[in-house]
Symmetry: C2
C-alpha cells in the first residue's frame, strides 16, 4: 500500500488528529507534513484539493478533511 | 486493538468516506453504523460527541469529524 499524507499546521486540533490517525493506520503508513514549517508544500496540498487542516490524502488521492484546525488560507498567512 | 466506530447516514459524502476509512484501517477494525437506518443509536453518537456525519470514534474515544455530509440534527429529522 502506498502511503497516505497527513497535512497539518501545528494547531492543537491538528496534533490531536495526527496522534489519532497514526494510532489508527500506523506510523509507517502515513507521511506527516507540517505546512507551517514547510511552506513549499502548500501548493502541493492545494493541488490535492485540501481546503483546511488537518487533512489526510489517501493513497488513491481522496481528501479527508478531519475536524477543523485552520483554513489553508490562514496557513498561507 | 478495540474497534473504531464509523457513524454515517447514507449520504454520498458518507459513503465515499466510509470506503476510504475501511481501506485505511481495515474492515475488521471498524464498526459501521448507519444512523438513518438505526435511529436508536443516534443518542449514542451524540453522547460520543458527534456533531455531524460522517464521523469516526477512535478506540480511545476521540471523535474525528470527516468532511461534512450532514449535521446530526438533520439526521434526527
Amino acid at each position: 500500500m502506498s502511503k497516505s499524507i497527513f497535512y497539518h499546521a501545528g494547531c492543537p486540533v491538528c496534533v490531536s488528529a495526527e496522534q489519532d490517525i497514526i494510532n489508527l493506520i500506523g506510523e509507517s503508513n502515513v507521511e506527516v507534513v507540517h505546512l507551517g514549517d514547510d511552506k513549499s508544500r502548500i501548493s502541493e496540498a492545494e493541488h490535492a484539493g485540501i481546503k483546511s487542516v488537518p487533512a489526510l490524502v489517501t493513497p488513491n488521492g481522496n481528501v479527508l478533511h478531519i475536524n477543523f484546525g485552520a483554513s489553508l488560507a490562514d496557513v498561507k498567512g
